[in-house]
Homo-oligomer: 389 residues x 2
């Protein structure tokens, strides 16, 4: 396949952005990425947007054409594509944009990810999020996302002796990183006690085990590697991509404590890139709940199965630890505008590989990974990046 | 780009299918297409699904993983992608699936299109459909789809002298074709008087100028042309694809009576395929309203601008006319499960090019076209097909 590089990145701050609309956020991120890539409007061949539920959050479908329109690109009559796959929307959009360039159809493609989640109430937002689980077997009976992930956490504690303190260590680490990220929703460190003393959302997951509701948008500019040097001397190459699906409902899964979709997506990406987990210095993984990051680092083979809790507690995944996980603060502290997540992770990895991550810079970052989940793991997407200079 | 062929098609009946769920329909269409293509489950590399608003119609997002799961493919851990672009979802899904094969990432891909629209009330359905127009400038003020298209119809009448009878002739023709299609929602001919005497929905569009709310699903199996003969001796080649976007809100458009997105998508597809409009014997075009088909045949250059009305009245687009338009019955009579439309059009064209269209077979069909719109024309997609045997 034709090699593809990221040549520009842009993001908005993440948070409760009540004074700005979905379209405002999409435009801001897109224009920043275009400016960063130094491409002109007439060089852009297509626009891909990852978005989960704008239909329910802001009553607007057809958002890819809308973002192109409001970005001043309507006169270019670009093909625009919205991709949805639960929380993995952004990561899938990135993969589709990569294929569009790899196919030879396009040369330069903008990939956006956006969600506006705080214009509805918390209960309604939880219902919308739960729409990516199995409606007929889970959601209709009142299962929430926190409830479903709590079952995975409980089983992981039972099988591997994972402790509440180890779950909490994920939140403490990611808040510590978020405090170094000026675009993060939460830029404040928290203590282990804060996490442990917070009220339950769904036992054993407390308030600080859960990523917030967020508004925000991010964008990337992709380009065929053969043309990337025209725009930048720091292209970041997409070295491999893997995507996999699984049963949607938890009760059908082989094992509650392993996400087969993550295992397989990771292997597919590693195989394409000819990487091993030990080759990665920095990773952004899905941490919508603290248990999710523990599952991810195990299923991606950064640590042995069952050892995610102790490894986190011991600082294996801390900033400039053995492998840095979620230097941006992750979904937990950076924020979780759902459709943006997969693209936001890529933005952070690109900044890390370019050496632009400021106080949260991982020393010697040459290769990075992103891992994004849809639903409770019925979709997983892994992308691998390396410095192309 | 690597050549891609359709090697299998499958569909459900379209209609008000209250006894069957979204997932039932998706599975039925998918399994039929797989059976038609004679591929086995382990040969399928990926699944693409066109769907507009399952989140609002049936409270289920993440529908691509769901369809894979319920089709018995969860153990294959396929990558699955849901694509949304208003009414053009299915056509965009087909284009993305084509690119996935053209890129070399995949060899065999299933493309599904599905919508379940009749589980909500008519008013709610109208609101959901209007979600693909501009929410902040149109929908929030009460604009419905019928109202927006009525403005285009009124302007077309003013500029070109198009008559109510000419609009009605589209409905009469498409019902005549639908009566020959055992899977159509309406299999009954109607008279000009029936259309003219029906109550207004939005003047000058009456009840019979509007496509119905429908449930239904369709699927295609795509394969690299280099491998297609392993499965079929009647592959249908995708000769060209074009997609374009435009301003979302009508008030921003250059001209209410020309859809620039259709004009440009058509040219892009024709250029890739090296076809001219006169090379096409059979076309399925977007006819959510009668005016839409008239705009489409003009903007695709089958007839001169402004002549769509008289041409329809004179039988230019009738079954085995100069060019047959909407032999399936179109959205008007075959039915309009929104996310399915673009794929359903391709299913019909494949059946026509294979000579399998029964009583509605177009004599000597060698090359066909599909044209699908999102919103009120902010997205348009054109695909061109030719017999590959």
């Amino acid at each position: 396949m034709r090699d593809v590089a990221v040549i520009g990145v842009g993001e908005t701050a993440f948070g409760e952005l009540w004074d700005r609309s979905f379209r405002d956020l999409g435009i801001e991120a897109g224009l920043r990425a275009i400016q960063d890539a130094k491409v002109t409007a007439d060089e852009i061949d297509a626009l891909y947007v990852g978005n989960m539920s704008a239909g329910k959050f802001v009553d607007q479908e057809h958002v890819s054409a809308l973002v192109a329109d409001y970005s001043g690109l309507a006169d270019q009559h670009l093909p625009t594509v919205r991709v949805e796959g639960g929380g993995a929307c952004g990561a899938i959009a990135l993969l589709q944009a990569r294929l569009a360039i790899a196919s030879g159809m396009h040369d330069i493609v903008v990939v956006g990810g956006a969600e506006k989640m705080t214009d509805v109430g918390d209960v309604q937002a939880a219902q919308i999020l739960a729409g990516t689980a199995d409606q007929e077997w889970e959601t209709v009976f009142g299962a929430t996302f926190a409830g479903l992930y709590a079952m995975m956490a409980r089983r992981h504690m039972y099988e591997f002796g994972t402790t509440r303190e180890q779950l909490a260590a994920v939140a403490v680490k990611n808040h510590r990183n978020g405090a170094l990220n000026p675009n993060a929703q939460f830029q404040r460190e928290i203590t282990l006690e804060t996490v442990l003393q917070a009220p339950w959302v769904a036992e054993p997951l407390g308030l600080f085990d859960c990523a917030p509701l967020s508004d925000g948008a991010v964008a990337l500019v992709l380009c065929g590697m053969d043309r990337a040097r025209k725009y930048t001397d720091r292209p970041v190459r997409i070295a491999g991509s893997g995507q996999a699906s699984d049963f949607v409902a938890l009760h059908d899964r082989r094992d509650l404590t392993t996400m087969d979709a993550t295992v397989i997506a990771g292997k597919r990406a590693m195989q394409e890139a000819s990487f091993e987990p030990k080759d990665i210095q920095v990773a952004e993984v899905h941490d919508n709940f603290t248990i999710t990051e523990i599952l991810a680092i195990e299923d991606l083979r950064f640590v042995p199965k069952g050892k995610g809790g102790p490894a986190t507690e011991e600082g294996f995944t801390a900033l400039n630890g053995k492998i840095t996980v979620n230097p941006s603060g992750g979904l937990k502290a950076r924020g979780q505008p759902v459709g943006a997540t997969g693209v936001a992770q890529a933005v952070e990895i690109v900044r890390q590989l370019r050496g632009e991550a400021g106080k949260r810079q991982v020393t010697g970052a040459e290769r990075g990974l992103t891992h994004t989940l849809g639903g409770t793991g019925a979709t997983a997407v892994v992308h691998l990046f390396e410095r192309g200079d």
